[in-house]
Symmetry: C2
Subunit: 423 residues, 2 copies
């Protein structure tokens, strides 16, 4: 199926991109906290942002920039302070940050996009941030993607990064991405950030459409308890440096590019979901038989986000009733007499009624998935495996719409993390 | 303000009602599990039911009855089996149950309404249930309300019951109610049930309108994590035995009756929210400054249902950022620069920005509320106090709409209960 391959690297895998990540002193921990993604040439830029009314200054800043000018040269991201609930001063700080970076890069300030993650209600530490810009720009390189991936994380247990390559005509085209976020929610740091780079040539309007559709099939399918952040941001740049013909409509090349963009976004979204606070496994919910794809995604998201389903999975309980209950309240019409529910390969419910199934085997399936869900690298770092999620399949018997959503289980540690944290 | 007083009793406090609760052998525990509420004369009947697509047989049964005939004589409620996901056999069981009770009472089967709570996917234990009907009918009395309140609960820590009396013209009019449910969610037993009786004379159409509006201001404001049950049911009977003039429009008497109905429903809803799994206190969220009341209720419900807010309260952390974040994502437009957030009497946030406040005092306020939130009666039973909820006030600065919602905090015990339960 997939007409692409995984290649090393991430946002600097596509041609003509550099990146960097440094410690500017924004995080109290002293961990890396300032990242730059830079296109050598003006790149088409698209964005998807949080829908909340309580937004960080950088979100409004990027929205305005993208409306005014659908292209950019640089993305600057800080971690430590969210610059949300900071009023007029927050807006001025964002503007000044962009101008400082633009000056250091000798580019138009309007070609700078911004993202922040960290504590809500805290202003950017402007002195440290501005002092960090020169060394950040100096550090930018074609191998700087990993450093950028590290600098954007906050409470994440792992960095999230990927790059894919396909061939359009006879030339390679690449998409790379990095992301941060915990699949569930984190106090004042719930932000999900995603940055995608691409060296295809594509029209501004089409690139935005592709990104919006990709977000709907990926990042928007992991908003597991609805606690949308003030700072959620997904930005994608396409700089045309692959020297492939410009894609201006959804022809074969356009479809291939979009499919690869969806794959990159889904990988990053799954990595965020798997990294949920206290989570022991990634859950993938596949819904079929819905009136349309959007309805299927809605049901999938509701099941993946149900606290009841999530705690049952933590308890390794093959609880079909909770899955059916979540599907039923998702707001999508169906006839309950046609409902089917599967866990892995085990059919739990058919024609709206529970079946007699091997409960021990179903529970063992859940334990096995969790046991194989992560491992430790030689250097002691955590590796999370996304290829074998705990699979829930729901068929509504009411159409041909399909959709996926992802989440993680709900453990004691979730409450512990979120109750014991103090602002 | 309130033009009524609390009186002893509950569903049998209004004239012309009897009730009973017995052990029929439906619950494995041997606790009371079969309840009857009976009007001596045909009563106007209104209902509000779960909106989910996966519904118990009794829900569809009641909907059909109320469409066909807006009156009833009896409500039969069992606890133990939900009769949900039971297919055609479940429908036949519901029908047979109604016919058996009608025969025992010598009334029309269409005058019987049904409710069930318990394990999804399990049929009613028809032998035990049918055998219980004769003793249940024999036990019905004007003092049977408490027994009925006990027989409808499942995992509730306390029964929920109240009665209010007002005067219309120069005659007393009463409304009583009982309810069951845990404020958060319980595995396969998430059901919220409410039964209300009234001795006013009121037109069918108006009574249904009043009940729908009352539910919107009470039970619908505690669906704290959206895990709507297959069996949620609210039924209200009005039998006219107060001999007051029939209320057929929203005149002064109509408004007085509706206000009292809202009060009864809000008391019962708060009691359910307070009884949440693992909860240590009741949370009341008041939203003002919304475009309209429905918008205000939506924001209030979102704040009260936020896992982040709930776990912060369990941690006694005055986390204004989580409250503002939940308000922002509720889907109601407002200008964040006008947002105000209060905790008790302490202003945490104004004009969209955090204030410097006495953090220790705010945390102490939260501890005090929780400490006074329950006590133990002389007989060892738990008493939950609803009069001093933990108060969160949010003003959006965008209109005159107001609304309330209730919830409880999110504790370790919530996950424990929901993960360790096995189907």
């Amino acid at each position: 199926m997939a007409d692409w391959q995984v290649i090393p690297g991430n946002v600097t895998a596509p041609r003509g991109f550099k990146a960097a990540g440094i410690t500017a002193g924004l995080k109290p921990s002293g961990a890396p906290d300032l990242a730059l993604i830079l296109s050598e040439t003006e790149a088409i830029a698209a964005g998807v942002f949080t829908q909340t009314e309580v937004r960080a200054a950088c979100v409004d800043y990027c929205r305005r920039r993208l409306q005014k000018k659908g292209s950019a040269r640089a993305i600057l991201c800080n971690a430590g302070q969210a610059n949300a609930a900071t009023g007029e001063q927050g807006k001025r700080d964002a503007q000044e940050t962009a101008e400082r970076l633009a000056a250091a890069l000798a580019i138009d300030p309007d070609a700078v996009l911004l993202a922040s993650t960290g504590v809500i209600g805290q202003r950017l530490k402007m002195d440290a941030l501005c002092a960090g810009i020169a060394p950040l720009v100096a550090a930018a390189s074609e191998t700087g993607g990993d450093a950028a991936a590290r600098a954007i994380i906050t409470t994440d247990l792992v960095t999230k990064a990927i790059a894919l390559e396909t061939t359009l005509g006879d030339r390679p085209v690449r998409i790379g991405g990095i992301a941060k976020g915990s699949g569930m929610i984190h106090p004042n740091m719930a932000t999900m950030l995603g940055f995608v780079t691409c060296d295809a040539a594509v029209s501004t309007h089409l690139w935005q459409q592709m990104l919006t559709r990709a977000a709907d099939q990926s990042f928007n399918q992991i908003t597991v308890d609805g606690d949308t952040s003030t700072n959620d941001t997904l930005i994608a740049l396409a700089n045309g440096q692959s020297r492939t013909p410009a894609i201006t409509e959804m022809d074969a090349a356009g479809q291939q590019l979009e499919a690869m963009l969806v794959e990159v976004c889904q990988y990053l979204a799954k990595a965020i979901a798997r990294d949920g606070e206290g989570a022991t496994c990634l859950i993938e919910v596949q819904v079929t038989g819905a009136p349309d794809d959007a309805a299927a995604r809605q049901v999938a998201r509701t099941v993946a986000g149900s606290s009841l389903v999530k705690s049952a999975i933590f308890g390794r309980d093959p609880n079909w009733g909770r899955i059916a209950g979540a599907a039923g309240r998702a707001g999508v019409p169906f006839d309950q007499a046609r409902l089917r529910v599967k866990l892995g390969d085990i059919l739990l419910m058919d024609a709206g009624q529970p079946l007699t199934f091997d409960r021990a085997a179903a529970s063992q399936y859940m334990r096995d998935i969790a046991a194989n869900s992560s491992s430790t690298a030689a250097d002691g770092s955590l590796i999370q495996h996304l290829d074998q999620p705990l699979a829930i399949a729901v068929d509504l018997g009411n159409g041909s719409g399909t959709g996926l959503a992802w989440g993680c289980d709900l453990s004691y540690d979730y409450v512990k993390i979120n109750a014991e944290y103090t602002t």
